[in-house]
């Protein structure tokens, strides 16, 4: 009965979404106030029913109901509870249901709490939101019913892909999905504003928290995904320019551009058309990302859940939404009133430069990711584009972008004096130059990109704190601190990336128990191999002791796991984290002479890559709290003034 109830809840939610769309569309045309009033409760009800449906699916997974096809295909009764829970969205149907649930909840949230937006724009936004959801409801109900039953009922399920049985990955997809869905809300806002021709500062202020929220989740999702690939695949790399990774990077690039342009729109009322365009592009990128990951159209080191038929469904949705939004944009862009003007040397100018660079990087990643598809469609040749292209194409631009990022916050709004600006950024420039000089002198074997990156990171680290210079720190708004921390986080991540790519040391040996391995200042001793058993796997575990210089002795235990249910092996790398880097050990196969392959990396400062990512997200979080609090205070003040008048 649980499955049927879930399905009914899903149908009801879909019907409510249809009603929500109709109320909005008809209400706006007829300018009916009663329709406007009705749309809010409908949106809330839709959110509740779709959440109910999703909760019931989780319940089915938790109790391992093997009469439900989805549970059979993606779960097993012996699986740890956490992965039964996470297995709910570790598959196509479940993740689509998660998507539409988050969208429904976001719609309910807007309906309940959004107060600053013009009423008609709000109605148009909710209608657009319902329209997008409808496509996903249709998708679920027509071709990917998560509640489908299965007869005869099998004794047990097939289990979850062992690579996915990792706490990090259990929560990685929902994080990215929150980001994608946040962008869909920004998209709905843009469509709503285009329909009512109400693009201005108020609209930008209403849209900004959603963009910021989406961007925070995307940042965290990408950071977590990178760390997951780093320790789970056992290849010692943190970014492979894999299509699935690019699928999450592209929306992030667009969201980063949108975040900055929406700030210009909110504070200075400039870049109106450009911001609308970016909102459309950002959501397009999250749809394209979903399409790439879900369709199996690209080869990927981590392409899960592949199915071409479903790919075409998403492609059709993509065409309708993006095509529709682009058409609307083309129709309405002429009627969007011009925003305020600014000189090129100004904060706005720097943000325009930021936006252009991000757009170009986005275009380069986009081309590189889709080029193999295009070539294959046209000529039939199979081809792959790899890291050499992406590094060459995006690396220099990314460094330029970081330089703009350092200077931007030091510029004044509207117009600035170039000489005074040069004065303000002289210290970071000097630091960058000094770092460049020192690195060139004292290090060997650094690539030019890494060298520039490390030197620039030093300059940016200092420049990112410059907005706090000579300010009363207690009266500085929270969102300024947010920006400072986010920009500093970029510098931190850059240091990690440059150090990892330049100073990593590696040893690959076949060792017998008792052998010693030296890498950098580390002495490792291979003690023994022991069998292990987990809840649904068995493993061979290498026991290795590691000592840094004359320091304390640590034990590390890389494993090779065998999963019986899926007949799959995974290797669990052992990581030893120190303040100045990470020791990374992978256990390979044994041979007939009793030797075991062991691969050891010493990666100086590699953890800064992910700490940087967390700092960036933290900065975004502070900015969001600061903005929301300020908006709340202003509204209270306004209400107070209105009440006393």
């Amino acid at each position: 009965m649980i499955a049927e109830t879930g399905l009914i809840a899903l149908w009801l939610a879909a019907a409510l979404a249809l009603l929500q769309f109709a109320l909005g569309a008809i209400g706006l045309r007829a300018e009916r106030n009663d329709y406007y009033a009705a749309i809010r409760p409908v949106a809330v009800a839709q959110g509740l029913f779709v959440s109910l449906s999703f909760l019931l699916l989780i319940w089915l997974f938790l109790r391992s109901d093997m009469s439900v096809r989805l549970v059979v295909m993606n779960s097993a009764s012996v699986k740890p509870l956490l992965y039964k829970f996470a297995g709910t969205w570790g598959n196509h149907e479940g993740s689509m249901l998660l998507w539409v649930t988050v969208m429904g909840l976001a719609g309910a949230f807007i309906a309940l709490f959004e107060r600053s937006l013009n009423k008609r724009t709000l109605v148009a936004t909710l209608a657009a939101q319902a329209f997008i959801s409808l496509g996903f409801y249709a998708f679920l109900l027509v071709s990917s019913n998560p509640f489908e039953r299965m007869f005869p009922v099998p004794a047990d399920g097939q289990g979850l892909n062992p690579l996915l049985q990792d706490p990090g990955l259990a929560f990685h997809p929902p994080t990215l999905y929150f980001g994608y869905v946040g962008l869909s809300v920004a998209f709905s806002f843009a469509v709503g504003a285009m329909i009512t021709r109400d693009v201005g500062a108020a609209f930008a202020k209403a849209m900004r928290p959603w963009v910021l929220g989406a961007w925070i989740f995307l940042t965290l999702g990408i950071t977590a995904g990178s760390y997951w690939a780093y320790y789970e695949l056992g290849w010692g790399g943190w970014w492979f320019w894999d299509p699935v990774e690019n699928a999450s990077l592209m929306p992030w690039l667009a969201a980063t551009a949108l975040l900055h342009s929406v700030t210009v729109l909110a504070t200075r009322d400039s870049l109106r058309a450009w911001t609308l365009m970016l909102a459309v592009v950002a959501f397009s990128m999250s749809m394209i990302g979903t399409f790439l990951v879900r369709s199996g159209i690209l080869t990927s080191v981590h392409a899960f859940a592949v199915d071409p038929e479903r790919g075409s469904f998403i492609l059709a949705l993509l065409a309708i939404y993006i095509g529709g939004a682009m058409a609307l944009f083309a129709l309405r862009v002429g009627t969007v009133k011009e925003g305020k003007r600014f000189e090129l040397v100004s904060r706005e100018g720097a943000l325009v430069a930021n936006n252009l660079l991000l757009s170009v990087i986005l275009a380069l990643v986009f081309i590189g990711t889709l080029y193999p598809l295009l070539v294959e469609a046209v000529t039939g040749d199979k081809l792959s584009v790899g890291p050499p292209y992406f590094n060459l194409a995006t690396g220099p631009l990314a460094l330029l972008l970081v330089a703009v990022m350092a200077a931007g916050p030091l510029l004044r709004w509207r117009r600035d004096n170039p000489k005074a600006l040069l004065n303000r950024i002289s210290i970071p420039i000097l630091i960058t130059a000094a770092a460049l000089f020192a690195l060139a002198l004292f290090t060997t074997g650094m690539s030019i990109l890494a060298l520039l990156g490390l030197a620039l990171a030093a300059g940016v680290a200092v420049a990112s704190f410059a907005p706090l210079w000579k300010r009363n720190l207690r009266r500085t708004p929270l969102h300024t601190y947010g920006m400072v921390i986010a920009h500093f986080g970029i510098a931190v991540a850059l240091v990690g990336m440059a150090c990892e790519s330049s100073f990593t040391e590696e040893r690959l040996v076949a060792a017998q128990p008792g052998d010693e391995i030296a890498v950098n200042d580390w002495k490792l001793k291979f003690e023994a191999i022991e069998p292990m058993a987990g809840p649904n796997w068995t493993a061979l575990e290498g026991r290795i002791t590691a000592q840094y210089g004359d320091g304390a002795i640590h034990e590390i235990t890389p494993q090779n796991r065998m999963f019986a249910a899926a007949q799959t092996q995974t290797s669990e790398a052992a990581l030893l984290t120190r303040w100045n880097g990470q020791l990374y050990v992978v256990l390979g196969d044994g041979d007939s002479e009793g030797r075991w392959q062991i691969r050891v990396w010493w990666k100086p400062f590699v953890t800064l890559i992910w700490y940087g990512g967390i700092l960036v997200a933290l900065g975004g979080f502070l900015a969001m709290v600061g903005r929301l609090r300020r908006g709340y205070k202003q509204r209270k003040q306004r209400e107070f003034v209105e009440a006393t008048l």
């Binding site: 059979v72 295909m73 299965m150 099998p154 047990d156 097939q158 892909n161 062992p162 690579l163 056992g234 290849w235 450009w274 159209i297 690209l298 080869t299 080191v301 981590h302 392409a303 592949v306 011009e338 003007r341 600014f342 090129l344 325009v352 252009l356 660079l357 757009s359 170009v360 275009a363 380069l364 081309i367 590189g368 080029y371 040749d381 199979k382 081809l383 792959s384 584009v385 790899g386 050499p388 292209y389 060459l392 194409a393 690959l508 040996v509 076949a510 090779n560 899926a566 007949q567 799959t568 092996q569 995974t570 290797s571 390979g588 196969d589 041979d591 002479e593 030797r595 392959q597 691969r599």
Partner: protein, 149 residues
């Protein structure tokens, strides 16, 4: 600058930037896109030694040989038409077995040996590297066990 002119400047700037991106991409792709090769492709038209390429096919039954150093493997990748010798130093992926599909990034050396830098084997029972779809694998027997169908 008039407002109209400013808009035009910004629009032009955006167009120039995006066209620039396209040109840059075209240039970089020409230079860096590593073409996907099957053993037959290599037999027909040998790529330049040292050029980064990607090789895909089936690991020939009985061809995997481990070297004395314990960390280097040599094997043969084959498709319906040809065979290609490959050497790889490192830990092989978990599902790297004889008779299974493999995709390798690397380059040919002067002797025609393919030196692999990374190996991608199947992810799990259900995953086949997309490049291998539609390639005739003569001895490509790989049992797929499915619990329920």
């Amino acid at each position: 600058m008039k407002a109209k002119h400013q808009r035009l400047t910004l629009a032009l700037l955006a167009v120039v930037a995006l066209v620039g991106a396209g040109l840059l991409a075209a240039y970089a792709l020409q230079d860096q896109a590593s073409y996907f090769y099957t053993p037959s492709d290599i037999a027909q038209q040998q790529p330049e030694a040292g050029a980064a390429i990607r090789l895909g096919g089936m690991v020939e039954e009985g061809s995997i040989q481990r070297s004395a150093d314990g960390v280097t493997v040599q094997f043969i990748v084959q498709d319906a038409g040809a065979r290609q010798k490959v050497t790889y130093t490192g830990i092989t992926p978990d599902l790297f077995v004889e008779g299974s599909g493999v995709v390798a990034d690397g380059r040919l050396d002067a002797n025609g040996m393919f030196v692999a830098e990374t190996l991608l084997a199947k992810h799990d029972e259900n995953y086949i590297p997309r490049e291998l779809e539609g390639i005739d694998m003569t001895s490509g027997k790989h049992k797929t066990e499915t619990l329920v169908q």
